[in-house]
Amino acid sequence: MEAASIELFVNAIVAGLLLGGFYAAVSVGISISFGMLDVVNIAHPAFIILGSYIAYTVNARFGFDPILTSVVLSPLFFALGLLLYRIYYLCFEKRGQESLRGLAFFFGVLFITEVTLVLIFGVDYVQARTAYTDATERIAGIDFPLRLVVPFFVSLAMVIGLQFFLTRTFFGRAVLAVAQDQLALRLMGVDPVRVKGLAFALSIATAGVAGALLIVILPVQPSIGREYIGLVFAVCVLGGMGSIWGTLVGALVLGTAESFTATFFGPSWAPAVSFGLLLATLAFRPAGLFGR
């Protein structure tokens, strides 16, 4: 290989890994809600975009850092999640109708969120301005754009934090228990509905932060959330449904695959990668790379 193509190759890997780190933040919420709680929240990407717009508004009006804003405002998203799960539980789960109507419910929520954003902000792309938006570190011929590096580390911190929270605390273990055996949990005197509600709220809170990361990386427009639907489910399935480490690895794999496709075949093929990978995984290895 020539030197130029080696450099291209290494750059593609680095860009893919950085992108993959961000994808982990985007999909970790689905790994909790869909992977662990069996709540097919197809509207998750719409909440990510909502997070983007909130971070954008605060950034544009007061100049605050979008990521910091999202962390401060995450209780808002947590509350939204609590409310949403309450409706979902009362209307669908309790009646045993979650499979078809619950899915349609979230599909409707997706469109309501998206169109509301269109009506408020219009369909033009918006982007947040920060000190690190346009800066790029160059180390040994490899580009490290800071607008990717900062979200990468924030995302990594969030994923590692969640993993420790879920495995080391009482509440976290209760969430893992809900995923395995609800009846047993009930027998231990823990209310599975309450645990599921809090865990679902946690998953929506991650969407708020992921949204802020997104608007640091790329310009955002209300309907781009749809492109992330395939991505989040692909990562969740690839990672073996509800494993946090699996989500991280799945996200890195997907980010690298997309970056390679964009570098060597052209960016217009990139959206097909995540969905194609998802279709292939579902068809040939439904348990995921790290399936139980």
Binding site: I42, A104, G230, L279
Partner: protein, 314 residues
């Protein structure tokens, strides 16, 4: 009523409708009726899989676009006449339905839903990168200079074709519903494991259901490029088709062929009115809001109200 009588009745009313509307002078009504009828076909087709079998298909747009783009291919190849492109698009979309069903129906219901959404994006990307059908720029499908079958305008011919397609869709849906096939599908919807255990050939029935549903969705798409004489990937693959074809049966009622028809007429007409009076973005908001309100408060749709009201009277 026997199925043959029903089919005859549907087609007689379809021809009567075509005859009556040709007296209408205002072109807007043709356009509005075309769109509403297109939704009747899509909602009825979706319901064959979603309502009768209980599998949620988010990929309506993919099948619709398969129909639309097969017309583009045939037009580019040899300017195929309309009946041929309708037939071809229907067959291709049906085969696609069979393929998707074969690939994904062994999955749990939720994964099927996600896989159909994935299919939609993968196909979209392929079409965007396929130069023969115009890629992202789109393609023109011009109307022939002389309108066949004695219609005064080409749009009237397309409108008549759409009326007949809606009649076909309704006849097929009703035939499936009342046949042995329909009872098998209902068994799958209620409890797939129990159905399998009592000897219902579940995979085969599901494949028949995806094929029929896909074919009808594709059929609705075949006249789409002719209607606007132009088609581009983002309009053919619009997720609006997916959300509408789900919302309409859920709002009308999913247990019979009448539900999607009512839902499609209702939502379709509301959207036409909204489109001319306010911004078109409101359309999607209304559809989404109605979908959420109906699934939470009226799980069996309008037809559910009707049957509850009937039971109360007796």
């Amino acid at each position: 009523m026997r199925n043959r009588t029903f089919t005859a009745l549907v087609f007689v009313s379809a021809f009567a409708l075509i005859g009556a509307t040709l007296l209408v002078k205002n072109e807007f009504y043709f356009q509005a009726a075309y769109t509403v009828l297109q939704f009747v076909v899509l909602a009825t087709a979706w319901n064959i899989l979603g309502g009768y079998t209980g599998y949620v298909n988010f990929g309506t747009a993919a099948f619709f676009a398969i129909g639309a783009y097969s017309t583009v291919v045939l037009y580019n190849a040899f300017k195929a006449p309309l009946p041929l492109s309708i037939l071809a698009g229907t067959i291709v979309a049906g085969l696609a339905g069979l393929g998707v069903g074969y690939l994904t129906l062994r999955l749990r219901g939720v994964f099927f839903a996600i896989a159909t959404l994935a299919l939609s994006v993968v196909l979209y990307t392929f079409v965007v990168n396929w130069d023969y059908v115009g890629g992202a720029r789109g393609a023109y499908v011009l109307a022939p200079r002389e309108v066949p079958f004695g219609f005064s305008r080409y749009t009237h011919l397309l409108y008549a074709a759409m009326v007949l397609m809606a009649a076909t869709a309704l006849a097929v849906a009703r035939a499936v519903e009342t046949s042995k096939l329909g009872r098998g599908l209902a068994a799958i919807r209620d409890d797939e494991l129990a159905a399998e255990a009592s000897g219902v050939p579940t995979l085969r029935l599901k494949l028949v259901s995806t094929t029929l549903s896909g074919a009808l969705m594709g059929m609705a798409g075949t006249t789409f490029p002719c209607y606007l004489s132009f088609v581009e990937p983002s309009s053919a693959f619009s997720l609006n088709y997916a959300v509408n074809s789900i919302a309409m049966p859920l709002i009308g009622g999913m247990m019979s062929w009448l539900g999607p028809l009512i839902g499609a007429l209702l939502l379709g007409i509301v959207q036409q009115v909204v489109q001319v009076s306010v911004r078109s973005e409101w359309n999607l908001l209304i559809v989404g809001a109605l979908l959420v309100v109906f699934v939470t408060l009226a799980p069996n749709g309008i037809m559910g109200w009707v049957s509850a009201w009937r039971r109360k009277r007796i």
